[in-house]
Symmetry: C2
């Protein structure tokens, strides 16, 4: 079923989840109420939620608890997944210390860096390994997700290594377009571009 | 003209810009070649670029230099803009040290934090001011953009203060939906959710 969901719908599921978690009541909520709270269209909300196993009831809506559980299930929050961070610069270290990944069942298990001053140290309780040993270590750790926090000029080579290691899902903070073979997926977060886009919005 | 551009098109403009900047030749490039390089549709690329002042020529394409200039102009890279960072935790400090904002004409001028151990210190050459003085200082600094790096529970109150100060554009890293008055715009970056979405993609 997951393969049928449009990425735009998938992207909205964590927004619903975060919103529902802020509600103190554990009663029922209608798609209309969710739509109004989030400034979205009701039809869109209903369509998005239909990808999950949540069942809305006519004139009552969704049980908040069931809807949260269905969203968490769909987003794999209950499946433990291991991720590594490549590049233990300021951003990499910030992400090593960030606890929010656990809400989605994602455990950041280690970082990799080529700076010998960083190798062997711990940040947020997570070890920083030598980038030279990435291939071997990632296999040992059984990580299937990676967050790329390396400079733009290094990003493609690192992505190639990751895909070679079987890490087929890469979240990339470097402002470059990475080419990866079929089956691998890259999602980009470009913080500077996001702020520029925001600045250009009227 | 800018108000007419769909956000989805606006979001792609930095992607074109980053790609064009990687090209070593300064000749001409067709919308088809851009589309192929980025794995997009050619019609989409042409439509997106039509929002800028760039003029493609039949059977020749766009002058790379002109297209870069047109994208930079559209994205306001040549207009100097000041931004502040709210919350000088690990992420806030990482962004204070990040040079990529300058590519878009954005200068990060200061951060704010309520931790007295951080107040008065400098990160990346930028001062960290006391969050208590944010209203007054933001006015003095004439910042019109802010990046929110505070914990989720504090984000709404900080956003309210920012909007009161006339900062109408907020890039929010806290995983909460912020309510702001009409005229203010919030863009969200939820790193954990992005990784969960990636993990859910097939």
């Amino acid at each position: 079923m997951k393969s049928d969901i449009p990425v735009t719908s998938l992207q909205r599921l964590p927004v619903y989840l975060n919103y529902l978690k802020t509600l103190t009541s554990d009663g029922y909520i209608s798609s209309g109420a969710i739509a109004r709270a989030l400034g979205m269209g009701e039809v869109l909300v209903r369509k998005d939620l239909a990808y999950t196993s949540a069942q809305g009831r006519t004139r009552v809506g969704y049980s908040c608890g069931e809807l949260i559980a269905a969203l968490e299930d769909y987003l794999g929050c209950n499946d433990k997944k291991k991720a590594v961070i490549i590049g233990a610069g300021e951003l990499g270290k910030a992400l090593l210390s960030y606890g929010g990944f656990l809400n989605y069942g994602i455990e950041i298990v280690a970082a990799f860096d080529s700076d010998s001053a960083k190798v062997g140290t711990y940040v947020g309780g997570k070890p920083i390994f030598d980038a030279k040993n990435a291939k071997e270590k990632i296999g040992e750790l059984n990580a299937r997700l990676a967050v790329l926090c390396v400079p733009a000029r290094e990003a493609q080579a690192v992505a190639d290594t990751l895909v070679d290691c079987g890490v087929m899902k890469i979240l990339n903070f470097a402002p470059v377009l990475l080419k990866v073979k079929d089956g691998a997926i890259v999602r980009n977060i470009d913080v500077a571009a996001s702020l520029a886009i925001l600045s250009s919005m009227i």
